[in-house]
Symmetry: C2
Subunit: 433 residues, 2 copies
Amino acid sequence: MTSKPIGVAVLGLGNVGSEVVRILTENAADFEARIGAPLEIRGIAVRRIDGDRGVPAELLTDDPAELVGRDDVDIVVEVLGGIDIPRKLVLSALENGKSVITANKALLAEYTGELADAAEKSRADLYFEAAVAGAIPVVRPLMQSLAGDRVNKVAGIVNGTTNFILSAMDETGADYAETLAEAGRLGYAEADPTADVEGYDAASKAAILASIAFHTRVTAGDVYREGISKITADDLETAKSLDCTIKLLAICERITTPKGKERISARVYPALVPLDHPLASVNGAFNAVVVEAEAAGRLMFYGQGAGGAPTASAVLGDLVMAARNKFYGGRGPLESKYAKLKVAPMGDILTRYYVSMQVADKPGVLATVAAEFSKRDVSISTVRQHGAGDGARLVVVTHLAADSALSDTVASLEQLDVVVHVASVLRLEGTTV
Amino acid sequence: MTSKPIGVAVLGLGNVGSEVVRILTENAADFEARIGAPLEIRGIAVRRIDGDRGVPAELLTDDPAELVGRDDVDIVVEVLGGIDIPRKLVLSALENGKSVITANKALLAEYTGELADAAEKSRADLYFEAAVAGAIPVVRPLMQSLAGDRVNKVAGIVNGTTNFILSAMDETGADYAETLAEAGRLGYAEADPTADVEGYDAASKAAILASIAFHTRVTAGDVYREGISKITADDLETAKSLDCTIKLLAICERITTPKGKERISARVYPALVPLDHPLASVNGAFNAVVVEAEAAGRLMFYGQGAGGAPTASAVLGDLVMAARNKFYGGRGPLESKYAKLKVAPMGDILTRYYVSMQVADKPGVLATVAAEFSKRDVSISTVRQHGAGDGARLVVVTHLAADSALSDTVASLEQLDVVVHVASVLRLEGTTV
């Protein structure tokens, strides 16, 4: 006795879409056994129907809206990329009670609210495990496994391209431009790498993680963002001398303001991370996410953050769960935004700075520089002086202070006569001092 | 407008039960917001009602069966320990359509089938995230996030007591008995540590993990098991010299027999693990689980594997999901056993051995010993000779071979005249050769 099949529309046949279709086809019997009913692919939407795409030609369509609207489509898998087109398609699916699985972080980081509202109305599922950290289960653990806990912090390496570049710079000593070019040759960086290297991709993921972790609607625009394009070989060299490496981190944190208000912070920037911190050894295209929750303590999730098959694994896990809900009734949790916490501006966040500057080689420089820090109540942790003459350099690492005080200090250092040039400013994360 | 409360019975008020009640009480508003309806504790079953237990006295009862049977109890949280009593209570709850959250690995490793059948009939939920690796989300990721993938291996450190002992032995060089006593003093080992140190606890968890990972009913009796009580300070010393450490591993693996049959293996034993393997650096009472899936690749989950608050976090995540299902309809996945794979006997599993033996200090010993290995087609990876005279020692590390061939070889080595004594035999895991 076979149950009525559940119809699936796949939108997009790139790296991820191809793997989704391949695995669904090859393991069809497993999917049926796990769901209770067979899955049937009703169609695959592509931009242009041409050549052999490695899937049955009769499944291909260049009219995704028609496909999504078909009566025999119960679940839509959106792996298109872009925002405007998928937004319309996903919305139309949800409004018609069709569950949606999407890997589209940019879409979610802008429009989760709108999409979740539509899903809520029609009692459909909206799942997006693949949108953050590829194959690594992070979204479901945060939304479900930790649903009875209070998450205080989520910090992760969630962009494979930048982690590949920073790991390679750390290993080879090469500079940024050269390493980016190499990453492009190896397929780790796109032709236009802006979204990755400037931190936009990580910021979208930070918005999604913060929304889930803190039961608050956070969009990409709420996330403070700096990319890695200004990181130099020198920075990595200095990081090593401080027993650190440099990682692009996405950090979501629950904070209490000096006045005792509860706020959240969502931010992305390259930071010095001590070598003994679990995130320091996450290299290459791997991703990892550390979660700190009140009862659970510190958890870490590690794995492949991108790539066709790993991302397809996350999509298909969601697909099985959505299909089970179609079959058995019920649905997964949607957006939870009851906490309505405010996002604190970056200036209010307590951080530690590492400042490397080229200075005049004469007595009194250290005193002058130190005065600028103390003026703003920024306490210095370590100072190192390197070189002499034109190459004289001062490296200052601070204790925790308000980011605004730190950035004001840096601005004023640049005005000092004794400071020739502030070469590099990075935050230091993963320490507790 | 407040929705009708969902009634919860808590069975047990030990470390975990107390934390469950505390968090439910302190964060009641969060639970209500996340579920859609308030949770109300209808009663807490304890063995004896005496003294101040830190909870409202009117909630206490020493009649768990009566509590479970109450009409206003919708969900039962079982954190009692033991097997027979919780089995009856959980079964009666499930038969009456009440969802159950349990942290009871021993119960599940024997009776998941019976319990899942009862839950299936009455359409109740049976959740047990806390039964494996405490706060670390492993059960839900395996059952749900990886539901569209094919898991090939799950290997983990899932017992905090033994990991604490082995880490301490590695660090201090102390012997087993001394370290066990210290673990007892620090609260990391129970008065009767048998279940932990002899691997029974880890074997229960391996049975649960293998069942989920391979969609096959696996019980504790199917799991090959060795404990850590024979590990010596010498073993840890030798491990170091091989750039390894020793960990008690629970390993669940999909294997193919020489005749091409698909089988699974579930086993628990202390093994040498190379220092650069991710599990080698999991120290103290921490747990970690590595999952290898076909599409997702290698994932790792890390965190606190025991303790009141971490275990309560896992219980409460399950509780929120079960309560949401009560509120919205639908239910989580139950036992999946469609694959019905057979469990291969330990002798058929390919492993690598490390054998340390005291030998006679005379020429030809190595040749005689090596002949015993080659007789059974076991290929040797490295041989080291240490000491001389009465202290002459030979350490052999093999390549992969059938475990039966390896154990037969060891048995025959013990009969050799040139071998005074086989001091230690351990398997080597986490290598691919």
